[in-house]
Symmetry: C2
Subunit: 87 residues, 2 copies
């Protein structure tokens, strides 16, 4: 499946969540990651996020799409971080 | 069509872009808006964003989906802003 993850976490946990997500997904913008993952990877990513965030303070949105559905993305302004193929 | 918009703009322009997007879409998280729009509305939104942002400094990602395709959303942690039906 294809996922887009957007996080809004306390600055104390930003680096932690960013480096965790970089291991699994492509960095698209400051707080946005996306990529194709298996169901097992997806569960690992969710578990990892839950271990890092404070569920009473932070918020992480996960959008999930069917396999091979890659959403159309358009960027206005600068492309903060070009997609690199970490996967 | 359904759109998700994530912005990463200089703090000087955050309130401006937020209040602009609130007129057209639903606020999902700190810097994330989404909603169903017509093609004409979509063009107005893009024009509005381009008038507000500094294209050399800010970055706005627009994901676009076919009509009636509403992506599955899951939130880990707190729901920073419950969807309200502005539209």
């Amino acid at each position: 499946m294809y996922v887009i993850i957007v996080y809004d976490v306390n600055v104390a946990r930003v680096n932690k969540i960013k480096s965790f997500l970089r291991k699994h997904l492509n960095w698209v913008q400051n707080s946005v990651f996306e990529g194709e993952v298996t169901k097992a990877e997806f569960e690992r990513i969710k578990d990892g996020i839950l271990r890092i965030i404070d569920e009473d303070e932070d918020s992480v949105i996960i959008y999930r799409f069917p396999l091979d559905f890659v959403p159309k993305r358009e960027i206005l302004g600068i492309e903060k971080n070009p997609i690199d193929d970490i996967i």
